[in-house]
Symmetry: C2
Subunit: 226 residues, 2 copies
Amino acid sequence: MFTGCTISPHHCACFNKLTEEQKKQLETKSVTIKYKKGEVICKQGSFASHILYIEKGLAKVYLDDGQNSLVLKVIPPGNLLGLTSISEENNNFQYSAMAYLDSEVKQIDISFFKQMLIQNPGFAKEVIDILISNSIQINGRFFCLTHKQSYGRLADILLCLADRIFKSQEFELNLSRKDLAELSGISAETVVRMLKKFKEEDLIQLDGKSFKIKDYAKLKRISEIG
Amino acid sequence: MFTGCTISPHHCACFNKLTEEQKKQLETKSVTIKYKKGEVICKQGSFASHILYIEKGLAKVYLDDGQNSLVLKVIPPGNLLGLTSISEENNNFQYSAMAYLDSEVKQIDISFFKQMLIQNPGFAKEVIDILISNSIQINGRFFCLTHKQSYGRLADILLCLADRIFKSQEFELNLSRKDLAELSGISAETVVRMLKKFKEEDLIQLDGKSFKIKDYAKLKRISEIG
DNA sequence: AAAATAAATTGATCCAGATCAAGGCACGAT
DNA sequence: ATCGTGCCTTGATCTGGATCAATTTATTTT
């Protein structure tokens, strides 16, 4: 029912709503920056002069209080990042983001973005839809991390990676065990133990960073039962 | 830094942006319904033909998978409910809501609401701001419930009630211990024990449903340390 | 006011998963 | 090669808080 999956299944559609003229303007009002894996793309609390759009790579969005960190979502190409900064009262980043893989990020001037919201109702409506789908997704993850137990959460993430990121039952996961732990909201040691168990029970095949989902149905069941 | 507080600190400002004409129309497109404490206002999954606006009372918004329940937020008068249903792809309620106290709720025709989004960019912008502030709030709560421990969460909720609902250090809490438990994401028994501890340590005064914050600063510290 | 029902409190037990500690392994730097 | 530094893995231990069970106190219902 609810999934801890952090990855939006669709591209954001808002830019399609811009007129040709506006699209041209957009190009002059934006610039693309490259980030290496592990680099910080935006920092919680800092002033936000841009809305970000992931063109290539993968980024994680997380909250941090200096002590603990919570991954809110993972953003694949085709999605916006930093939308919360367009609010009038919170014009700084409400979360941090880091490149999970080498990435390219388009920075869009925030006042241009706001101008589009006012000038182009279709664009605004699309942005609203994006915000809503973000909320729904995060609510699901919220439910997951607070009510499912670790097994289910890990199964969830594995399926999410297979389905939404790699679109294959077999993949090379370029993330550390610690990253995986963060994603599923459990400790790195526990992740290792659980992966081992999944392997023993023949639900997955695992060798270092090579993953293969062997029993999708059973993993699905585990993710649902919790 | 992050708070588990579920209550939005401000009224929604979007209706101010409507023209006089549109405000009049709004009246013809909406109707106010009364709910008794405990009644369900909207049910997760059901078709949403209206956007809801809390006029009086208090409502809780929660997710439910039949097994567990997670309170996303508590909505005081002056706030919208069910905004997620204006999305094109999710035109049903993404969560349930229940009256915490006797309440009055205005139901606004959803297609009228959508029409306003298109016709009135100022209105749309305001709705975007509301969605953003909702997300920020829920993200904070998310962090709280996953990373703070129970003590901090309970302290958090008590301060939130005092500051945002009752606007007084002393209040009569019309919620059961179980409700309080749900709000802070812990079991009812644990809530009782912790309240007792708070009382013993002279942080609060407590008699049944009468609460009084005696040491705000210390509670604040507990809520921050976790 | 007595009976029935629900909520609050307290104590005892249990367990998922964190944390701590220690080795094994891989890979970039010297 | 070999040193170092950081991941991965495994085992041992600890604990916050859930759950279960039983009693007490409120609140309805009749």
